[in-house]
């Protein structure tokens, strides 16, 4: 037992760095397999020295693999632990290693997609975009820094966790924690999404005037009777503060009426329409073009 081969921290950091390029050779046949083998190479190089062992190791890691790119990290960690034991003579065969990979990639992708793609990305993206819309450089910087801090931290920590926990992680993760994380992320996502819809989907029917009522004398500022110069401005501001209307006619637009129900109602309806169309297997691209066409037509008709 004296000459056991151990993967050092620096080996694991090398693997972690390569895992940043996991999807580089993503293909329709075996998906992430090339990147997976590429990621493990620093460890395989250390563990296996003969040509036969190396060829066997590479072949076994070029099998089909596909998961969410970030949650691949705990699987990489577990695989490192298994390969290390195997290189030291433990009876772990190809089937076991492939079984662990396949067994973990499905459930973990089920966590990675809602947590990263459907919760973290829309929230960070919307926050950064709202800064960027104002022309602030903080938008892109915030997105880049926050996103990568979360991602890099997650990938390194879970890879180490996977390596230390070895195969025990599979049982651990298929238990309650996994479901809790998925459900918690879904709750957060479902709570934040309507806020994003309300604030960022712009459906404006302002050009449509529902009514135009001439207001009673004294309910609006009579611009002709104001004193001249600065005195007049001051008087106008005072009257406005007292609740007087700026115009003689009170114009109510369709948009005002909709806003009284609840702001963002039309945006919500558009979103539900899109969800329904997507469920009917209409391509998102066609819906996007349709909405552009709708916008142009409604604008030409003077409705929006």
């Amino acid at each position: 037992m004296a000459d056991q081969i151990k993967l050092t921290k620096s080996d694991r950091v090398k693997v972690w760095w390569r895992s940043n390029f996991l999807q580089g050779s993503w293909n329709y046949e075996r998906m992430q397999n090339g990147g997976w083998a590429y990621t493990l190479i620093p460890a395989l190089k250390k563990l296996y020295t003969t040509k036969e062992d190396r060829a066997a190791a590479l072949k076994r890691h070029l099998e089909f693999f596909n998961t969410h790119p970030y949650v691949a990290s705990p699987i990489i960690g577990v695989t490192l632990a298994l390969e290390e034991e195997r290189a030291n003579g433990a009876p772990i065969d190809d089937v076991t290693i492939q079984g662990v990979k396949v067994g973990m990639m499905g459930p973990l992708a089920g966590v990675g997609d809602p947590v990263f793609w459907f919760t973290a990305k829309p929230i960070i993206g919307a926050l950064a975009a709202s800064l960027a819309l104002g022309g602030s450089i903080m938008g892109p910087i915030l997105y880049f820094v926050v996103w990568n801090a979360i991602r890099i931290g997650f990938m390194y920590y879970t890879q180490e966790f996977g390596y230390k926990a070895g195969s025990a992680i599979t049982e651990d993760l298929s238990g309650g924690i996994l479901q809790d994380i998925t459900k918690g992320a879904s709750i957060l996502g479902m709570f934040i999404l309507p806020a994003l819809i309300e604030r960022w989907v712009v459906v404006d029917f302002s050009p449509v005037k529902v009514s135009s009522i001439k207001q009673a004398s004294g309910a609006y500022i009579d611009w002709d009777k104001l004193p001249k110069g600065a005195q007049g401005i001051k008087e106008a501001l005072t009257q406005q503060k007292a609740g007087l209307s700026l115009d003689k006619y009170k114009v109510t637009t369709l948009q005002d009426n909709l806003n009284q129900l609840i702001p963002g109602f039309a945006a919500l309806l558009i979103t539900f329409l899109c969800m329904w169309l997507l469920k009917k297997k209409v391509s998102p691209i066609i819906i996007i073009f349709g909405l552009f066409a709708f916008g142009v037509i409604m604008h030409v008709l003077g409705v929006m």
């Binding site: 940043n20 390029f21 996991l22 999807q23 050779s25 993503w26 293909n27 329709y28 397999n33 090339g34 083998a37 190479i41 395989l44 036969e52 190396r54 060829a55 590479l58 072949k59 596909n66 997609d113 809602p114 459907f118 829309p122 929230i123 993206g125 919307a126 950064a128 975009a129 709202s130 800064l131 960027a132 104002g134 022309g135 450089i137 892109p140 997105y143 996103w147 879904s186 957060l188 996502g189 479902m190 709570f191 934040i192 999404l193 309507p194 806020a195 604030r199 960022w200 989907v201 609840i262 969800m275 998102p284 691209i285 996007i288 909405l291 709708f294 916008g295 142009v296 037509i297 604008h299």
Partner: protein, 268 residues
């Protein structure tokens, strides 16, 4: 606006980075808010490009590669539309027509992505042969070639747009009538909904809809920022998870409901 040689090289480099990330999905250089800002940075048109990036990011919130599905290509859309915005020389005024150009580009990028992923199939076959030989170096090489191919997927179209030059791009933008550009920007306001709809369809369940209703009602309070809403959401998620566990243990254990006040009330 015309760019000098150094700026053009930098633009193509940024495009290359974005193309790489379009497949890697790790550092997110291809996300519109980052990609457009980088193009703006190297061309000296920072502010209009940041605004373009923000608008496109709103559109792209729900675009993600799930499983084997390919999302509309944010990389080509943001890089190419940012270059066109810069070449057009209209500054902030050109943002809405640049957004309208970005959508067809995202579709074109989708096709390029599918082609690139098919070519990658050949590369992993080369990796299989390298594995037979036990050659680590060759696997590394093919992985790097694969990544570079994805970079070129965006860098080549970017170079083509630069080669055509500012004149034709500007003429094309000026040829668009006002009713069309205004109408497109109105459409752009609604198009964001598609991304959200995709995400909701993925996550929605009977259990989740009440949270959607809560979020919609609370969002009407404009004093609540996204960070505040996020805090409320996290708190609700934790409370909900804890409460649903208490229900389970209460049925199993009998007395230990995990709710001291409830226990006291029960005893009286």
């Amino acid at each position: 606006m015309n760019l000098n040689a150094i700026q053009m090289i930098l633009v193509v480099l940024v495009a290359f980075l974005a193309g790489m990330e379009g497949i890697l999905d790790e550092f997110h250089f291809h996300q519109p808010v980052v990609a457009c800002a980088l193009i703006g940075l190297v061309t000296g048109q920072l502010v209009p490009c940041i605004i373009l990036g923000g608008s496109l990011q709103m559109l792209a919130l729900g675009w993600s590669n799930v499983g084997a599905a390919v999302a509309p290509d944010a990389a080509l859309a943001s890089i190419a539309s940012a270059i066109i915005l810069v070449l057009g020389g209209q500054g902030k005024a050109g943002v809405s027509s640049a957004i309208a150009i970005a959508i067809p580009l995202a579709v074109a990028g989708l096709l390029l992505t599918i082609i690139a992923r098919t070519i990658a199939t050949l590369m992993v076959h080369a990796m299989d042969r390298a594995a037979e030989e036990g050659s680590f170096a060759k696997i590394d090489m093919w992985q790097v070639i694969g990544i570079c191919m994805q970079g070129l997927r965006i860098a080549i179209p970017a170079a083509l747009i630069l080669a055509v030059g500012a004149g034709p791009v500007k003429a094309m933008l000026n040829a668009m009538p006002a009713w069309l550009t205004d109408g497109l920007s109105i459409g752009g306001g609604m198009v964001v909904a598609v991304g959200y709809a995709m995400v909701i369809n993925m996550m929605a369940s009977r259990e989740m809809w009440p949270f959607f209703a809560l979020g919609f009602a609370l969002a009407a309070i404009s004093e609540l920022t996204l960070i505040a809403l996020g805090a409320i959401g996290v708190a609700m998620a934790l409370i909900y998870l804890n409460l649903s566990k208490m229900g389970g243990s209460g049925n199993g254990g009998g007395s230990g409901t995990g709710d001291p006040v409830g226990d006291i009330i029960d005893k009286y």
